[in-house]
Protein backbone atom coordinates (compact mmCIF):
# COMPACT_ATOMS: atom_id res chain seq x y z
CA UNK A 1 0.00 0.00 0.00
CA UNK A 2 2.72 2.39 0.84
CA UNK A 3 5.10 1.80 -2.02
CA UNK A 4 3.57 4.75 -3.80
CA UNK A 5 3.95 6.92 -0.74
CA UNK A 6 7.57 5.82 -0.37
CA UNK A 7 8.23 6.92 -3.92
CA UNK A 8 6.65 10.27 -3.19
CA UNK A 9 8.89 10.83 -0.16
CA UNK A 10 11.96 9.93 -2.17
CA UNK A 11 10.85 12.36 -4.84
CA UNK A 12 10.34 15.16 -2.30
CA UNK A 13 13.82 14.67 -0.85
CA UNK A 14 15.23 14.50 -4.34
CA UNK A 15 13.60 17.80 -5.25
CA UNK A 16 14.89 19.49 -2.09
CA UNK A 17 18.37 18.16 -2.81
CA UNK A 18 18.02 19.52 -6.30
CA UNK A 19 17.32 22.96 -4.79
CA UNK A 20 20.86 23.10 -3.40
CA UNK A 21 22.16 22.36 -6.86
CA UNK A 22 19.94 25.13 -8.13
CA UNK A 23 21.68 27.70 -5.93
CA UNK A 24 25.02 26.78 -7.38
CA UNK A 25 23.65 27.07 -10.90
CA UNK A 26 21.91 30.29 -9.90
CA UNK A 27 25.09 31.91 -8.60
CA UNK A 28 26.98 30.91 -11.72
CA UNK A 29 24.16 32.16 -13.93
CA UNK A 30 23.78 35.51 -12.16
CA UNK A 31 27.50 36.24 -12.27
CA UNK A 32 27.66 35.46 -15.97
CA UNK A 33 24.52 37.39 -16.78
CA UNK A 34 25.49 40.54 -14.90
CA UNK A 35 29.23 40.34 -15.43
CA UNK A 36 29.66 39.23 -19.03
CA UNK A 37 28.46 42.48 -20.71
CA UNK A 38 31.53 44.33 -19.44
CA UNK A 39 33.77 42.02 -21.44
CA UNK A 40 31.89 43.06 -24.54
CA UNK A 41 31.80 46.75 -23.61
CA UNK A 42 35.40 47.14 -22.55
CA UNK A 43 37.09 44.17 -24.18
CA UNK A 44 38.14 41.07 -22.30
CA UNK A 45 41.86 41.69 -22.66
CA UNK A 46 41.63 45.32 -21.66
CA UNK A 47 39.49 44.44 -18.67
CA UNK A 48 41.73 41.75 -17.24
CA UNK A 49 45.12 43.22 -18.15
CA UNK A 50 44.28 46.92 -18.03
CA UNK A 51 46.50 48.72 -15.56
CA UNK A 52 44.11 51.42 -14.45
CA UNK A 53 41.03 51.06 -12.28
CA UNK A 54 39.22 54.41 -12.28
CA UNK A 55 35.57 53.37 -12.46
CA UNK A 56 34.16 56.77 -11.52
CA UNK A 57 36.32 58.98 -13.75
CA UNK A 58 35.07 60.47 -16.98
CA UNK A 59 35.82 58.54 -19.16
CA UNK A 60 36.16 55.62 -16.75
CA UNK A 61 38.95 53.04 -16.82
CA UNK A 62 38.12 49.43 -16.07
CA UNK A 63 41.39 47.58 -15.85
CA UNK A 64 41.40 45.08 -13.02
CA UNK A 65 45.00 43.94 -13.27
CA UNK A 66 46.04 45.92 -10.16
CA UNK A 67 43.22 44.23 -8.22
CA UNK A 68 44.15 40.73 -9.38
CA UNK A 69 47.80 41.45 -8.65
CA UNK A 70 46.89 42.69 -5.17
CA UNK A 71 44.82 39.59 -4.42
CA UNK A 72 47.61 37.21 -5.39
CA UNK A 73 50.30 39.33 -3.77
CA UNK A 74 48.50 39.37 -0.44
CA UNK A 75 47.50 35.71 -0.65
CA UNK A 76 51.06 34.68 -1.40
CA UNK A 77 52.31 36.60 1.63
CA UNK A 78 49.60 35.10 3.79
CA UNK A 79 50.58 31.60 2.70
CA UNK A 80 54.22 32.24 3.62
CA UNK A 81 52.97 32.74 7.16
CA UNK A 82 50.10 30.29 7.32
CA UNK A 83 51.56 27.21 5.61
CA UNK A 84 54.60 26.62 7.82
CA UNK A 85 52.74 27.51 10.99
CA UNK A 86 49.55 25.66 10.11
CA UNK A 87 51.24 22.49 8.87
CA UNK A 88 53.82 22.64 11.65
CA UNK A 89 51.04 22.99 14.17
CA UNK A 90 49.20 20.04 12.66
CA UNK A 91 52.34 17.90 12.80
CA UNK A 92 52.85 18.89 16.41
CA UNK A 93 49.29 18.05 17.40
CA UNK A 94 49.35 14.77 15.53
CA UNK A 95 52.84 13.48 16.31
CA UNK A 96 54.36 15.23 19.28
CA UNK A 97 51.55 16.37 21.55
CA UNK A 98 50.50 14.25 24.50
CA UNK A 99 46.89 13.18 24.44
CA UNK A 100 46.12 15.86 27.03
CA UNK A 101 47.61 18.61 24.88
CA UNK A 102 45.78 17.22 21.89
CA UNK A 103 42.42 17.25 23.64
CA UNK A 104 43.05 20.87 24.51
CA UNK A 105 44.56 22.17 21.27
CA UNK A 106 42.19 20.66 18.72
CA UNK A 107 38.97 22.26 19.96
CA UNK A 108 40.77 25.53 20.70
CA UNK A 109 41.98 25.77 17.12
CA UNK A 110 38.57 24.94 15.76
CA UNK A 111 37.08 27.58 18.01
CA UNK A 112 39.57 30.19 16.83
CA UNK A 113 38.76 29.31 13.22
CA UNK A 114 35.31 30.69 13.93
CA UNK A 115 36.41 34.21 14.88
CA UNK A 116 34.60 36.49 12.42
CA UNK A 117 36.76 38.25 9.86
CA UNK A 118 35.40 41.63 10.90
CA UNK A 119 37.03 41.13 14.30
CA UNK A 120 40.39 40.52 12.60
CA UNK A 121 39.74 43.63 10.55
CA UNK A 122 39.20 45.74 13.64
CA UNK A 123 42.21 44.18 15.35
CA UNK A 124 44.35 44.84 12.28
CA UNK A 125 43.22 48.43 11.91
CA UNK A 126 43.60 49.52 15.50
CA UNK A 127 46.40 47.34 16.86
CA UNK A 128 48.49 45.71 14.13
CA UNK A 129 48.72 48.55 11.62
CA UNK A 130 49.94 51.25 14.04
CA UNK A 131 52.33 48.73 15.59
CA UNK A 132 53.89 47.79 12.25
CA UNK A 133 54.04 51.42 11.22
CA UNK A 134 56.19 52.19 14.24
CA UNK A 135 58.21 49.00 13.94
CA UNK A 136 59.23 49.43 10.29
CA UNK A 137 59.03 53.25 10.08
CA UNK A 138 56.64 53.07 7.13
CA UNK A 139 54.39 55.93 6.03
CA UNK A 140 51.13 53.95 6.29
CA UNK A 141 50.32 50.94 8.41
CA UNK A 142 47.41 49.89 6.25
CA UNK A 143 49.27 48.07 3.50
CA UNK A 144 49.82 44.74 1.73
CA UNK A 145 52.10 43.47 4.48
CA UNK A 146 49.55 44.06 7.23
CA UNK A 147 46.86 42.42 5.12
CA UNK A 148 49.09 39.40 4.46
CA UNK A 149 49.90 39.05 8.13
CA UNK A 150 46.24 39.10 9.16
CA UNK A 151 45.09 36.83 6.33
CA UNK A 152 47.86 34.46 7.29
CA UNK A 153 46.67 34.43 10.88
CA UNK A 154 43.14 33.72 9.71
CA UNK A 155 44.17 30.90 7.40
CA UNK A 156 46.26 29.09 10.04
CA UNK A 157 43.37 27.33 11.83
CA UNK A 158 41.84 26.18 8.52
CA UNK A 159 45.10 24.73 7.25
CA UNK A 160 45.98 23.27 10.63
CA UNK A 161 42.73 21.42 11.22
CA UNK A 162 42.39 20.02 7.68
CA UNK A 163 46.06 18.95 7.62
CA UNK A 164 45.59 17.34 11.01
CA UNK A 165 42.64 15.34 9.70
CA UNK A 166 44.82 14.14 6.83
CA UNK A 167 47.62 13.10 9.18
CA UNK A 168 45.08 11.28 11.29
CA UNK A 169 44.09 9.17 8.30
CA UNK A 170 47.57 7.70 7.88
CA UNK A 171 47.23 4.11 9.09
CA UNK A 172 49.09 3.19 12.24
CA UNK A 173 50.60 0.19 10.56
CA UNK A 174 52.71 2.51 8.36
CA UNK A 175 54.32 4.06 11.40
CA UNK A 176 54.67 0.78 13.22
CA UNK A 177 56.47 -0.71 10.23
CA UNK A 178 58.85 2.23 10.25
CA UNK A 179 59.50 1.97 13.98
CA UNK A 180 60.08 -1.77 13.63
CA UNK A 181 62.83 -1.01 11.12
CA UNK A 182 64.57 1.05 13.78
CA UNK A 183 63.59 4.56 12.63
CA UNK A 184 63.00 7.12 15.33
CA UNK A 185 59.92 9.33 15.54
CA UNK A 186 61.36 12.20 13.52
CA UNK A 187 62.54 9.89 10.74
CA UNK A 188 59.16 8.20 10.70
CA UNK A 189 57.46 11.57 10.53
CA UNK A 190 59.52 12.95 7.65
CA UNK A 191 60.00 9.76 5.64
CA UNK A 192 56.70 7.96 6.19
CA UNK A 193 53.89 10.05 7.63
CA UNK A 194 54.42 13.27 5.66
CA UNK A 195 54.82 11.53 2.27
CA UNK A 196 51.77 9.38 3.00
CA UNK A 197 49.69 12.40 3.99
CA UNK A 198 51.23 14.63 1.32
CA UNK A 199 48.23 15.08 -0.92
CA UNK A 200 45.98 15.52 2.12
CA UNK A 201 48.25 18.30 3.39
CA UNK A 202 48.21 19.87 -0.08
CA UNK A 203 44.42 19.84 0.03
CA UNK A 204 44.60 21.75 3.30
CA UNK A 205 46.95 24.33 1.84
CA UNK A 206 44.83 24.84 -1.26
CA UNK A 207 41.63 25.19 0.72
CA UNK A 208 43.41 27.67 2.98
CA UNK A 209 44.50 29.62 -0.07
CA UNK A 210 40.99 29.64 -1.47
CA UNK A 211 39.78 31.01 1.85
CA UNK A 212 42.41 33.74 1.80
CA UNK A 213 41.60 34.78 -1.77
CA UNK A 214 37.90 35.10 -0.95
CA UNK A 215 38.37 36.86 2.36
CA UNK A 216 36.72 40.26 2.24
CA UNK A 217 36.29 42.30 5.39
CA UNK A 218 39.82 42.03 6.72
CA UNK A 219 41.48 43.12 3.49
CA UNK A 220 38.87 45.80 2.98
CA UNK A 221 39.82 47.33 6.31
CA UNK A 222 43.59 46.86 6.43
CA UNK A 223 44.95 46.61 2.88
CA UNK A 224 44.91 50.37 2.32
CA UNK A 225 42.61 50.48 -0.70
CA UNK A 226 44.83 51.98 -3.41
CA UNK A 227 44.16 50.36 -6.79
CA UNK A 228 47.76 50.27 -8.00
CA UNK A 229 50.03 47.39 -8.89
CA UNK A 230 52.04 46.73 -5.73
CA UNK A 231 55.77 47.41 -5.99
CA UNK A 232 56.76 46.83 -2.40
CA UNK A 233 55.20 44.85 0.42
CA UNK A 234 54.49 48.11 2.23
CA UNK A 235 52.36 49.57 -0.58
CA UNK A 236 48.67 50.02 0.08
CA UNK A 237 46.68 47.75 -2.25
CA UNK A 238 43.11 46.95 -3.16
CA UNK A 239 42.27 43.28 -3.67
CA UNK A 240 39.31 42.08 -5.75
CA UNK A 241 37.04 41.25 -2.83
CA UNK A 242 37.63 44.61 -1.18
CA UNK A 243 36.83 46.41 -4.43
CA UNK A 244 33.46 44.72 -4.72
CA UNK A 245 32.58 45.37 -1.09
CA UNK A 246 33.71 48.98 -1.12
CA UNK A 247 32.16 50.06 -4.41
CA UNK A 248 28.97 48.05 -4.82
CA UNK A 249 27.08 50.45 -2.58
CA UNK A 250 27.64 53.39 -4.90
CA UNK A 251 27.51 51.66 -8.30
CA UNK A 252 24.34 52.42 -10.24
CA UNK A 253 22.44 49.24 -11.10
CA UNK A 254 23.14 48.18 -14.68
CA UNK A 255 25.93 50.72 -15.23
CA UNK A 256 29.34 49.75 -16.54
CA UNK A 257 30.72 50.00 -13.02
CA UNK A 258 28.02 47.62 -11.76
CA UNK A 259 28.80 45.15 -14.54
CA UNK A 260 32.51 45.45 -13.84
CA UNK A 261 32.02 44.60 -10.16
CA UNK A 262 29.98 41.54 -11.08
CA UNK A 263 32.67 40.54 -13.55
CA UNK A 264 35.24 40.77 -10.74
CA UNK A 265 32.92 38.53 -8.72
CA UNK A 266 32.79 36.13 -11.65
CA UNK A 267 36.57 35.97 -11.92
CA UNK A 268 36.84 35.47 -8.16
CA UNK A 269 34.26 32.71 -8.39
CA UNK A 270 36.14 30.97 -11.19
CA UNK A 271 39.45 31.21 -9.34
CA UNK A 272 38.02 29.66 -6.17
CA UNK A 273 36.26 27.04 -8.29
CA UNK A 274 39.58 25.97 -9.77
CA UNK A 275 41.13 25.84 -6.30
CA UNK A 276 38.24 23.73 -5.04
CA UNK A 277 38.46 21.31 -7.93
CA UNK A 278 42.20 20.87 -7.42
CA UNK A 279 41.63 20.33 -3.70
CA UNK A 280 38.96 17.75 -4.43
CA UNK A 281 41.14 15.85 -6.91
CA UNK A 282 44.03 15.84 -4.45
CA UNK A 283 41.87 14.59 -1.63
CA UNK A 284 40.49 11.84 -3.86
CA UNK A 285 44.02 10.80 -4.71
CA UNK A 286 44.90 10.86 -1.02
CA UNK A 287 41.99 8.67 0.01
CA UNK A 288 42.64 6.24 -2.82
CA UNK A 289 46.29 5.98 -1.95
CA UNK A 290 45.59 5.15 1.66
CA UNK A 291 42.83 2.78 0.66
CA UNK A 292 40.06 4.74 2.35
CA UNK A 293 36.50 4.69 1.11
CA UNK A 294 34.56 7.41 -0.71
Amino acid sequence: MSIKREKIYELIFGILAFASLLFFIGITGVLFKEGLPIFKNVGIFKFIFGKYWYPTYEPPDFGIFPLIAATFFITFGAMLIAVPLGVGGALFINEVATSGQKAFLKPIIELLAGIPSIVYGLFGMVIVAPFLQKLFHIPVGLCAFTASLLLGMMAIPTICSIAEDALNCVPRSFKEASFALGANRWQTLTKVTIPAAGSGISTAIILGMGRAIGETMTVLMVAGGAAVIPKSIFDPVRPMTATIAAEMGEAVVGSLHFQALFAIGLILFLITLVFNIIAELLSKKFRKRLGLGL
Binding site: S2, V96, L105, G114, T241
Partner: protein, 284 residues
Protein backbone atom coordinates in the same frame (compact mmCIF):
# COMPACT_ATOMS: atom_id res chain seq x y z
CA UNK B 1 73.82 12.15 21.39
CA UNK B 2 73.88 10.70 17.89
CA UNK B 3 72.88 12.61 14.78
CA UNK B 4 69.41 11.13 14.32
CA UNK B 5 68.45 11.95 17.87
CA UNK B 6 69.85 15.45 17.52
CA UNK B 7 67.79 16.08 14.38
CA UNK B 8 64.69 14.76 16.07
CA UNK B 9 65.20 17.10 19.00
CA UNK B 10 65.55 20.14 16.74
CA UNK B 11 62.63 19.07 14.57
CA UNK B 12 60.27 18.66 17.48
CA UNK B 13 61.35 21.99 18.93
CA UNK B 14 60.51 23.71 15.64
CA UNK B 15 57.08 22.09 15.57
CA UNK B 16 56.55 23.13 19.16
CA UNK B 17 57.44 26.71 18.25
CA UNK B 18 54.90 26.60 15.40
CA UNK B 19 52.09 25.77 17.75
CA UNK B 20 53.24 28.36 20.28
CA UNK B 21 53.37 31.14 17.67
CA UNK B 22 49.98 30.07 16.38
CA UNK B 23 48.37 30.17 19.80
CA UNK B 24 50.02 33.51 20.61
CA UNK B 25 48.82 34.99 17.29
CA UNK B 26 45.25 33.90 17.70
CA UNK B 27 45.22 34.45 21.43
CA UNK B 28 46.31 38.06 20.94
CA UNK B 29 43.17 38.79 18.89
CA UNK B 30 40.95 37.43 21.63
CA UNK B 31 43.02 39.18 24.30
CA UNK B 32 42.99 42.67 22.78
CA UNK B 33 39.33 42.61 21.85
CA UNK B 34 38.41 41.37 25.32
CA UNK B 35 40.58 43.82 27.24
CA UNK B 36 39.47 46.84 25.25
CA UNK B 37 35.89 45.77 24.74
CA UNK B 38 34.83 44.53 28.14
CA UNK B 39 34.95 47.98 29.72
CA UNK B 40 32.51 49.33 27.17
CA UNK B 41 29.83 46.80 27.96
CA UNK B 42 27.10 48.05 30.21
CA UNK B 43 23.39 47.49 30.55
CA UNK B 44 22.80 50.69 28.63
CA UNK B 45 25.16 49.59 25.84
CA UNK B 46 23.23 46.38 25.37
CA UNK B 47 19.71 47.74 25.58
CA UNK B 48 19.65 51.30 24.24
CA UNK B 49 19.60 52.72 20.73
CA UNK B 50 22.59 54.74 19.43
CA UNK B 51 22.63 58.47 20.19
CA UNK B 52 24.57 61.60 19.24
CA UNK B 53 25.74 60.50 15.77
CA UNK B 54 26.85 57.08 16.96
CA UNK B 55 29.13 58.33 19.68
CA UNK B 56 26.94 57.46 22.65
CA UNK B 57 24.13 55.18 23.62
CA UNK B 58 23.87 51.49 22.94
CA UNK B 59 23.83 49.05 20.09
CA UNK B 60 20.59 47.20 20.83
CA UNK B 61 19.24 47.51 17.25
CA UNK B 62 22.41 45.89 15.91
CA UNK B 63 22.15 43.01 18.38
CA UNK B 64 18.52 42.48 17.49
CA UNK B 65 19.27 42.77 13.79
CA UNK B 66 21.97 40.11 13.99
CA UNK B 67 19.55 37.92 15.91
CA UNK B 68 16.84 38.20 13.23
CA UNK B 69 19.26 37.68 10.35
CA UNK B 70 20.71 34.59 11.98
CA UNK B 71 17.32 33.18 12.87
CA UNK B 72 15.99 33.82 9.37
CA UNK B 73 18.94 32.17 7.68
CA UNK B 74 18.69 29.07 9.87
CA UNK B 75 14.93 28.75 9.34
CA UNK B 76 15.64 28.73 5.63
CA UNK B 77 18.70 26.50 5.49
CA UNK B 78 17.96 23.99 8.27
CA UNK B 79 15.12 22.02 6.62
CA UNK B 80 16.69 22.30 3.20
CA UNK B 81 20.09 21.16 4.43
CA UNK B 82 18.74 18.16 6.31
CA UNK B 83 16.55 17.10 3.40
CA UNK B 84 19.51 17.27 1.08
CA UNK B 85 21.71 15.27 3.45
CA UNK B 86 18.98 12.66 3.92
CA UNK B 87 18.66 12.26 0.19
CA UNK B 88 22.41 11.93 -0.28
CA UNK B 89 22.93 9.50 2.61
CA UNK B 90 19.73 7.49 2.88
CA UNK B 91 18.40 7.21 -0.64
CA UNK B 92 21.70 7.81 -2.38
CA UNK B 93 21.14 6.03 -5.66
CA UNK B 94 24.61 5.94 -7.17
CA UNK B 95 23.67 8.15 -10.05
CA UNK B 96 25.19 11.00 -11.98
CA UNK B 97 22.55 13.29 -10.45
CA UNK B 98 23.73 12.61 -6.89
CA UNK B 99 27.33 13.12 -7.89
CA UNK B 100 26.51 16.44 -9.52
CA UNK B 101 24.76 17.57 -6.34
CA UNK B 102 27.71 16.48 -4.23
CA UNK B 103 30.21 18.34 -6.38
CA UNK B 104 28.13 21.49 -6.50
CA UNK B 105 27.72 21.52 -2.71
CA UNK B 106 31.47 21.14 -2.25
CA UNK B 107 32.09 24.00 -4.61
CA UNK B 108 29.41 26.15 -3.05
CA UNK B 109 31.30 25.81 0.24
CA UNK B 110 34.34 27.47 -1.29
CA UNK B 111 32.61 30.45 -2.91
CA UNK B 112 33.80 33.73 -1.35
CA UNK B 113 31.23 35.32 0.92
CA UNK B 114 31.22 38.57 -1.03
CA UNK B 115 30.09 36.64 -4.12
CA UNK B 116 27.08 35.41 -2.15
CA UNK B 117 26.44 39.06 -1.48
CA UNK B 118 26.43 39.79 -5.21
CA UNK B 119 24.04 36.89 -5.80
CA UNK B 120 21.73 38.12 -3.04
CA UNK B 121 21.79 41.62 -4.48
CA UNK B 122 20.94 40.49 -8.00
CA UNK B 123 18.31 37.88 -7.07
CA UNK B 124 16.65 38.77 -3.77
CA UNK B 125 17.08 42.53 -3.66
CA UNK B 126 16.54 43.30 -7.35
CA UNK B 127 14.92 40.37 -9.16
CA UNK B 128 12.41 39.37 -6.47
CA UNK B 129 12.17 42.97 -5.32
CA UNK B 130 12.59 42.26 -1.62
CA UNK B 131 14.81 45.33 -1.40
CA UNK B 132 17.54 45.77 1.16
CA UNK B 133 15.82 43.88 3.95
CA UNK B 134 15.99 41.24 6.64
CA UNK B 135 14.43 38.80 4.18
CA UNK B 136 17.06 39.32 1.47
CA UNK B 137 19.89 39.14 4.00
CA UNK B 138 18.54 36.01 5.67
CA UNK B 139 18.12 34.18 2.38
CA UNK B 140 21.61 35.16 1.27
CA UNK B 141 23.13 34.02 4.55
CA UNK B 142 21.00 30.87 4.40
CA UNK B 143 22.51 29.85 1.08
CA UNK B 144 25.94 30.69 2.42
CA UNK B 145 25.66 28.22 5.32
CA UNK B 146 23.73 25.56 3.44
CA UNK B 147 26.87 23.60 2.48
CA UNK B 148 28.13 23.44 6.05
CA UNK B 149 24.74 22.31 7.35
CA UNK B 150 24.55 19.65 4.65
CA UNK B 151 28.01 18.30 5.32
CA UNK B 152 27.51 18.27 9.10
CA UNK B 153 24.19 16.43 8.65
CA UNK B 154 25.82 14.00 6.24
CA UNK B 155 28.59 13.28 8.72
CA UNK B 156 26.01 12.71 11.43
CA UNK B 157 23.87 10.41 9.27
CA UNK B 158 26.89 8.42 8.13
CA UNK B 159 27.98 7.86 11.72
CA UNK B 160 24.68 6.12 12.55
CA UNK B 161 25.59 2.41 12.42
CA UNK B 162 24.20 0.62 9.39
CA UNK B 163 22.92 -2.14 11.70
CA UNK B 164 20.34 0.29 13.15
CA UNK B 165 18.77 0.72 9.74
CA UNK B 166 18.97 -2.96 8.93
CA UNK B 167 17.26 -3.86 12.20
CA UNK B 168 14.47 -1.43 11.40
CA UNK B 169 14.04 -2.68 7.85
CA UNK B 170 14.08 -6.29 9.09
CA UNK B 171 11.15 -5.47 11.35
CA UNK B 172 9.20 -4.56 8.27
CA UNK B 173 9.53 -0.80 8.50
CA UNK B 174 9.62 1.03 5.23
CA UNK B 175 12.49 3.24 4.16
CA UNK B 176 10.72 6.45 5.14
CA UNK B 177 9.75 5.00 8.52
CA UNK B 178 13.37 4.00 9.07
CA UNK B 179 14.57 7.49 8.22
CA UNK B 180 11.95 9.15 10.37
CA UNK B 181 12.18 6.88 13.40
CA UNK B 182 15.77 5.63 13.33
CA UNK B 183 18.27 7.57 11.23
CA UNK B 184 17.23 11.14 11.94
CA UNK B 185 16.71 10.73 15.70
CA UNK B 186 20.07 8.95 16.04
CA UNK B 187 21.82 11.59 13.98
CA UNK B 188 20.04 14.54 15.53
CA UNK B 189 22.73 15.59 18.05
CA UNK B 190 25.30 15.63 15.25
CA UNK B 191 22.98 17.58 12.99
CA UNK B 192 22.29 20.08 15.76
CA UNK B 193 26.00 20.70 16.35
CA UNK B 194 26.37 21.47 12.67
CA UNK B 195 23.50 23.90 12.88
CA UNK B 196 24.87 25.57 16.01
CA UNK B 197 28.29 25.99 14.40
CA UNK B 198 26.55 27.56 11.43
CA UNK B 199 24.80 30.00 13.75
CA UNK B 200 28.20 31.14 14.97
CA UNK B 201 29.38 31.61 11.43
CA UNK B 202 26.31 33.46 10.17
CA UNK B 203 26.29 35.86 13.08
CA UNK B 204 29.77 37.11 12.19
CA UNK B 205 29.41 37.36 8.41
CA UNK B 206 29.61 40.88 7.04
CA UNK B 207 30.24 40.86 3.31
CA UNK B 208 27.03 39.05 2.29
CA UNK B 209 24.78 41.47 4.17
CA UNK B 210 26.55 44.67 3.13
CA UNK B 211 24.36 45.13 0.07
CA UNK B 212 21.44 42.88 0.97
CA UNK B 213 20.33 43.81 4.48
CA UNK B 214 22.53 46.07 6.53
CA UNK B 215 22.28 49.74 7.23
CA UNK B 216 24.54 51.94 9.30
CA UNK B 217 21.99 53.81 11.26
CA UNK B 218 18.44 53.24 12.48
CA UNK B 219 16.45 55.24 14.92
CA UNK B 220 14.43 52.35 16.19
CA UNK B 221 13.92 48.69 15.58
CA UNK B 222 13.03 46.88 12.35
CA UNK B 223 9.27 46.80 11.75
CA UNK B 224 8.94 43.83 9.40
CA UNK B 225 11.01 41.37 7.42
CA UNK B 226 11.09 43.93 4.65
CA UNK B 227 12.90 46.57 6.70
CA UNK B 228 16.59 47.34 6.56
CA UNK B 229 18.39 46.35 9.68
CA UNK B 230 21.50 47.13 11.69
CA UNK B 231 23.82 44.19 12.37
CA UNK B 232 26.76 43.86 14.73
CA UNK B 233 29.47 42.96 12.20
CA UNK B 234 28.42 45.62 9.71
CA UNK B 235 28.14 48.13 12.52
CA UNK B 236 31.78 47.54 13.43
CA UNK B 237 32.78 48.15 9.82
CA UNK B 238 30.69 51.29 9.54
CA UNK B 239 32.01 52.67 12.82
CA UNK B 240 35.57 52.19 11.67
CA UNK B 241 35.17 53.65 8.20
CA UNK B 242 32.43 56.26 8.36
CA UNK B 243 31.34 59.02 10.67
CA UNK B 244 33.16 61.98 12.10
CA UNK B 245 34.18 60.96 15.61
CA UNK B 246 36.77 58.18 15.15
CA UNK B 247 37.86 58.25 18.77
CA UNK B 248 34.47 57.48 20.30
CA UNK B 249 33.43 55.27 17.41
CA UNK B 250 36.42 52.99 17.87
CA UNK B 251 35.38 52.46 21.48
CA UNK B 252 31.90 51.40 20.41
CA UNK B 253 33.39 49.17 17.71
CA UNK B 254 35.41 47.41 20.37
CA UNK B 255 32.28 46.90 22.39
CA UNK B 256 30.47 45.39 19.38
CA UNK B 257 33.44 43.19 18.52
CA UNK B 258 33.52 41.92 22.09
CA UNK B 259 29.82 41.02 22.03
CA UNK B 260 30.27 39.29 18.69
CA UNK B 261 33.33 37.39 19.88
CA UNK B 262 31.64 36.20 23.05
CA UNK B 263 28.57 35.19 21.08
CA UNK B 264 30.52 33.26 18.45
CA UNK B 265 32.95 31.59 20.84
CA UNK B 266 30.17 30.63 23.24
CA UNK B 267 27.95 29.20 20.53
CA UNK B 268 30.76 27.28 18.81
CA UNK B 269 32.17 26.14 22.14
CA UNK B 270 28.86 24.55 23.07
CA UNK B 271 28.65 22.87 19.68
CA UNK B 272 32.17 21.48 19.90
CA UNK B 273 31.57 20.07 23.39
CA UNK B 274 28.34 18.38 22.31
CA UNK B 275 30.08 16.90 19.30
CA UNK B 276 32.98 15.52 21.28
CA UNK B 277 30.59 13.81 23.66
CA UNK B 278 28.68 12.44 20.71
CA UNK B 279 31.80 11.13 18.99
CA UNK B 280 32.83 9.35 22.15
CA UNK B 281 29.45 7.68 22.30
CA UNK B 282 29.84 6.13 18.87
CA UNK B 283 33.47 5.37 19.54
CA UNK B 284 34.99 7.52 16.83
Amino acid sequence: MNKAKYTQCIGFTVLYLCIVIMVVFLGSVVYFVTVRGIGIISWEFLTKVPKEAMTEGGVAPAIIGTFFLTLGSIIFSFPLGIACAVYLCEYSPKSVFVNVIRVSINNLAGVPSVVFGLFGLAIFVKFFGFGVSILSGSLTLGILVLPSIISASQEALLSVPQSFREASLALGASRWQTIKRISIPAALPGIMTGVILSVGRVAGETAPIMFTAATFYMRGYPKSIFSEVMALPFHIYALMTEGTYPQQQTQIAYGCAFILLVLVLLVSGVAIIIRQKQRKKYGQ
